[in-house]
Symmetry: C2
Subunit: 473 residues, 2 copies
Amino acid sequence: MKADHKKLERAFSPKCIAIIGDKKETNYMWLRSHSNFKGKLYSVQVAPEEIEGIKALGIENFTSLMDIPEPVDLAIVAVPRVIAPRILNDLIQKDVAAAHFFTAGFSETYTEEGINLEKMMIEIAEKSNFHVVGPNCMGIFNPSIGVGQGAAFQEAPVAGPVGLISQSGTHAVTFNRQASLQGLAINKTVSFGNGIVLDSPDYLEFFGNDPGIKVIGMYIEGVKDGKRFLKVLREVAAKKPVVIWKGGRTEEGDRAIASHTGSLAVSYSVWDSAVAQCGAVKVSSLDELIDTLKVVYFLPPVRGNRVGITGVSGGQSVAISDAFGEAGLRVPTLTNNSYEELASFFTLIGGGYRNPVDTGNQNRREIRRIIEILARDENIDNLALLVAAGMGPGGPPGESFPKLLVDIKQNIKKPVIAILAWAFSPGDVEQAGKVMKELQEGGIPAFISLERGAIALRKALDYYNLRNGNPER
Amino acid sequence: MKADHKKLERAFSPKCIAIIGDKKETNYMWLRSHSNFKGKLYSVQVAPEEIEGIKALGIENFTSLMDIPEPVDLAIVAVPRVIAPRILNDLIQKDVAAAHFFTAGFSETYTEEGINLEKMMIEIAEKSNFHVVGPNCMGIFNPSIGVGQGAAFQEAPVAGPVGLISQSGTHAVTFNRQASLQGLAINKTVSFGNGIVLDSPDYLEFFGNDPGIKVIGMYIEGVKDGKRFLKVLREVAAKKPVVIWKGGRTEEGDRAIASHTGSLAVSYSVWDSAVAQCGAVKVSSLDELIDTLKVVYFLPPVRGNRVGITGVSGGQSVAISDAFGEAGLRVPTLTNNSYEELASFFTLIGGGYRNPVDTGNQNRREIRRIIEILARDENIDNLALLVAAGMGPGGPPGESFPKLLVDIKQNIKKPVIAILAWAFSPGDVEQAGKVMKELQEGGIPAFISLERGAIALRKALDYYNLRNGNPER
């Protein structure tokens, strides 16, 4: 089926949503997760005991979809699976633009009943060219207008540059929350589950054309039409960065996929090189997905593997150098010019400046000068700044170190990343979240461990090497 | 110099501490970090403007060490480097058991003055067989009696089973805090910096004989006497688990070591096999050090690589299987007996049970039965349980899921680990910290990411394979 982008546009940016079959048992998760929806929200439910609870939420309920007095852009369906085909017919009759089926229990159960029900759904949808998101998924997330994804999002999400396409509902919901908390906000997310009508290439093409989406992340377990997937991927990756997390990189993962979405196993090495040839970046975890989207969104092109590091002290210099070294990056010595300039003011007691340049002590007062030396140094392609809790520039107390770094960065053309050295306490995490956002709003992507920062920078280098046809990996 | 364990015993568990040269500029960091010290605390300072601030803290000050009216077990020295040799002579005259020199600026600066001062210190100390911890380090941490390590520890540290020996002060302080926050408490830590008199083997031997220390972690950049280090390591590793994080695993890290402690570069592959032959486990980061100490402390011997997993849903099943697969572990299919039993009660809609067994949904109500099936299954050597925020067993709300897991675990002989799927918000982290402690108090080590859990279990398997002379890696 050919996806109609006008219909998808209505579904992803709806003016009117109908939620069908939401219930008390799940604490009305779909109605509740649309409490901030900026359009019209209706419920469709026939059970009197459920209707009572829905009315208590202040939401208008109809006992038939047909009774909704206006066009519906998106339906969210949470009915039992046996009723799903009947609801699909109603949706077609009502001319709804698209429907997300949260309902599960189809081919992924490997039961005869599930497989037959899915076949029935496909037949009905294809006959009428009806756009189904799912089934067995978390559907659409559009924080700018309050389209929720069924999950509690304690902190109000803000809208940002990322489009996420996920074959897993859990990963979609987790990504939305984790990325937002780490200062990378979402434009639109889709979790598409079994993908019986619309599949990943449809969403990829649609996100490729969406001007609000600047970078695309994907979680993929398998593709039905590999040729089409790679064709669309190549087209979209030429327009904006695409970062792909593939589930099933091991035999163990492939077995788990069989009981999750039932996608066919793909040889990971074949997948790997095909994806690279299309100009997309591959990652191996949710954390790497977030971090890599940050580097390709926030950084200018990364052109070399040599990193100048400052902000560290003693043992951290060693740990950060090992982390960058193990990610295949270099932490080289600086030019003689740089060393001469550093020698003119640097306090050697409690810190060296070979590279990393230690500024975990009194030398931090000279942080601007040190960063500018690294930025000018011709042995250095990229800068990495370590930021620790409570770090001030050594000047007046309370001066914002992140603000200072952002200010210094404005005149630097080389890629600059920040690494946060914070601990695992509630207070630390609160402060780290704020600092990360402050740095990123100033164009410095920030990461919560040495290793994560090093791998992210490496991924950015891989991405730009791919785009430039540079074989050096 | 041969270390005198009676003197070290006095230094690590002092009844009387003298802090020499603490000052306002550093906000009296050494005096303040001993505010909970259970013995007698004295200050030695001659500058009148500093003495005022010290008296304001309520601490008795003497202008000479000789004036302290009782034997001193540990001196902490924070004077400028040029005075350090004179202070050392005073310490010898006063017959202090040992002194930690926080003072830096010696051979690690590569300056003539620094190198000469260090030589002078070594001569003086060796002539009198005086025990110096450092210089250029954070010294001793013993939370059970309030011996602090100069750093703010917002949360009161509790005493536990871990001994940490670190060549880096930053890593020591960070480890103390991170490990404690993740439910792994410290017995004693030493940061020994330049190690001019006492070196890592001295502390290792001492910790090996300390009955309060059950597991030993080390951060090492280099060793002066390799033969002695390996001899002591072999002896101690035969008595209790030793986990070693080596700095300088790459050329980049080695260069950074040169300007940190100035240790000589060791070929990492040579180091690696030597350490393994001694029966110690190697790790590559602070996180891995914490996680690996957890598995060797909390788990019974790990005998095989096959893992039964539950607590997950959909995409998490795939991600966790890939993470374990990439760590070299297996997530195999179960026996037919297990599948028959699972089939008798499992709800297939919304989850499969091939392994991982999905209990992210209504099947969680059967979590006890499911865990017991995995524990009995002869294809399974270890269990991994995924615990998510707000997860209840599906029974009465508010029932503690961690408590239930600990209760189920009591009858299971196989190693059981838990993995926490929490996000990066202050509330999440607070809850995660509590859950981690609750699980670990019940003997289930818990980790804050899929990858960290998988790698930790792999490290435990490597450790027990080494001990049993099992070549399978």
